[in-house]
């Protein structure tokens, strides 16, 4: 129910267009990179997907994370800007369902951008490389993994935007967190679990045990942030 409500709310905010545009931009990264300097990559060892992602994933993930952070800020900004939130709170709706509606909507959007990116990557693999058997399976695994690792970042940025009434504060915190994620050393497992850093991980080139650990960690983080949201609502209401 609340998801449909959220869909209606975003109609004139440019939310959908921004996600489609961002997805196309991120999808353009591998295509442009291959179009400009394909000869560097075609001689490299490894499967097409491995080459493509190791060359472009950092930038694509950065765009994804920025898009999720901005989207989350916007979803709550529309509520806070003209005091719509007060109306929402007076309705016979649980406050958590507003949050979960927004989270589900952003999850759908991130599935959309990942699908666009997967399509662009598949195009590159078929156009510039000889894609072998099992390519689609590999592609699905990679982007599925990317999706799972995006969840903690998504829920946390939604939590930040809910907690801060002013958009520049939530955006500022989000941007600082993204920046921190880019500064963290990649070889340290504990530090790479920072929610804004997990989307930069890649499935290819990581051994299976590590992948499982990342998936468990991402699930745990998502769960913890969900709990934090419940707590935030309870605490804020008792002090309001």
């Amino acid at each position: 129910m609340s998801v449909f409500l959220e869909c209606k709310k975003i109609r004139r905010t440019g939310f959908l267009q921004a996600f489609i545009g961002g997805g196309i931009l991120a999808g353009a990264v591998p295509v442009v990179n291959m179009a400009v300097r394909s000869e560097i990559y075609q001689t490299k060892q490894g499967s097409p997907l491995q080459i493509l992602l190791s060359a472009n994933w950092q930038m694509m993930a950065m765009l994804n994370v920025l898009l999720v952070v901005t989207g989350a800020c916007l979803l709550y900004h529309t509520e806070y800007a003209d005091h719509a939130m007060q109306k929402m709170k007076s309705l016979p709706v649980r406050e958590i369902s507003i949050f979960s509606g927004k989270v589900i909507l952003t999850i759908l959007m991130s599935l959309l951008i990942l699908a666009i990116e997967a399509g662009a990557t598949a195009f590159c693999a078929y156009y510039w490389f000889e894609a072998r058997n099992g390519f689609w399976e590999e592609l699905g695994r990679n982007f599925g993994y990317a999706f799972l690792l995006m969840l903690p970042c998504l829920v946390l940025s939604m939590l930040i935007s809910e907690a801060c009434k002013n958009m520049w504060i939530s955006l500022g915190i989000g941007v600082v967190c993204v920046f921190t994620a880019t500064m963290l050393p990649t070889d340290n497992f504990a530090l790479s679990l920072f929610p804004f850093a997990t989307p930069f991980q890649m499935f290819t080139g990581t051994d299976l045990a590590q992948v499982t650990r990342y998936i468990y960690a991402a699930a745990a983080e998502t769960f913890v942030f969900g709990l934090a949201e419940l707590l935030l609502i309870k605490i804020r209401r008792s002090f309001a």
Binding site: T13, G14, F15, Q17, A18, G21, G22, L25, M59, M62, L63, L66, L67, T70, G71, C73, L74, H77, A81, N166, M167, W168, I169, L171, G172, I173, V175, V176, V178, F179, T180, T182, M183, L184, P185
Partner: protein, 256 residues
């Protein structure tokens, strides 16, 4: 009302915005990894750069690549949203003030935020240099004249970029697009500085200036150098066009 008092009012408006705190957090986050990895600076001798220069320039590169431009995008959001949230802009437009002047006053506030962040970054550099000099038993300080010159260059190079972001936030009413375009335009600046047409892309100026300084400091590293001739006229043109457009467009959506 003269320009100075208008700017003073704009500063009062953002007094409780906590923006300086966010800018400060960004600079603190920037230097922590540098302090923790201070020993890495000694391994860069192969490039012919001294540890203290490397320590300084790596930090500034990290800042000018993403954090500084992104903070400016946050600053534009602050300036436009403080007015729009409670329709304060309608009141401002109802006053007998030249809207272009108002727009420029806001731009000036944005420039001050940029200057404040660069100053904080420089301050944090000296604090972290003290810490690293203690932990590594090596003198990490650079002369304030040199550091000040680099900081001033970073600031000057950022003006066209800030003008561009300001134009975005004035002209595009939908916040997600002005923020999204701003943030998305920062990401490709890494690629743009390696092309021949870097001077056509204002978002890459700060990073380009700092990387070219890196090339100067490191004897064995060749980075592209600043060519003043296509750059300065283009930068001037970009700044003037962006400011003119934003002065014309400022308040137009509200006055409809």
């Amino acid at each position: 009302m003269n320009f100075l008092s208008l700017t003073g009012i704009e500063f009062k408006k953002i007094k409780r915005s906590k923006i300086l705190f966010i800018l400060l957090v960004a600079t603190v986050v920037l230097w922590i990894p540098s302090i923790l990895n201070a020993h890495m600076n000694f391994k860069m001798q192969a490039e012919g750069i001294s540890p203290e220069n490397n320590f300084f320039i790596q930090g500034f590169m990290g800042m000018s690549w993403f954090m500084f431009p992104a903070s400016m995008v946050v600053g534009t959001v602050l300036l436009s949203q403080t007015e729009r949230t409670n329709k304060g802009i309608l009141k401002m437009l109802a006053l007998p003030i030249n809207t272009a002047k108002l727009c420029l006053a806001k731009f000036f506030v944005l420039l001050s935020l940029a200057a404040a962040q660069i100053l904080m970054m420089t301050g944090m550099y000296y604090i972290s240099a003290v810490i690293c000099s203690k932990t590594q038993a090596y003198y990490f300080f650079l002369s304030p004249v040199f550091v000040g010159k680099e900081a001033a260059m970073l600031f000057l190079a950022a003006i066209p970029m800030i003008a561009f972001f300001w134009m975005l936030s004035v002209c595009i009413q939908t916040p997600i697009f002005s923020i999204g375009i701003g943030l998305a335009s920062i990401v490709p600046s890494v690629l743009m500085i390696n092309t021949k047409i870097w001077f056509a892309y204002p978002m890459s100026y700060p990073f380009f200036v700092i990387t070219s300084e890196y090339g100067k400091l490191a004897a064995n590293l060749n980075t592209a150098q600043v060519e003043l001739i296509p750059w300065i006229p283009v930068a001037f043109a970009v700044t003037i066009i962006c400011l003119t457009v934003s002065c014309i467009r400022f308040g137009q959506a509200e006055r409809r």
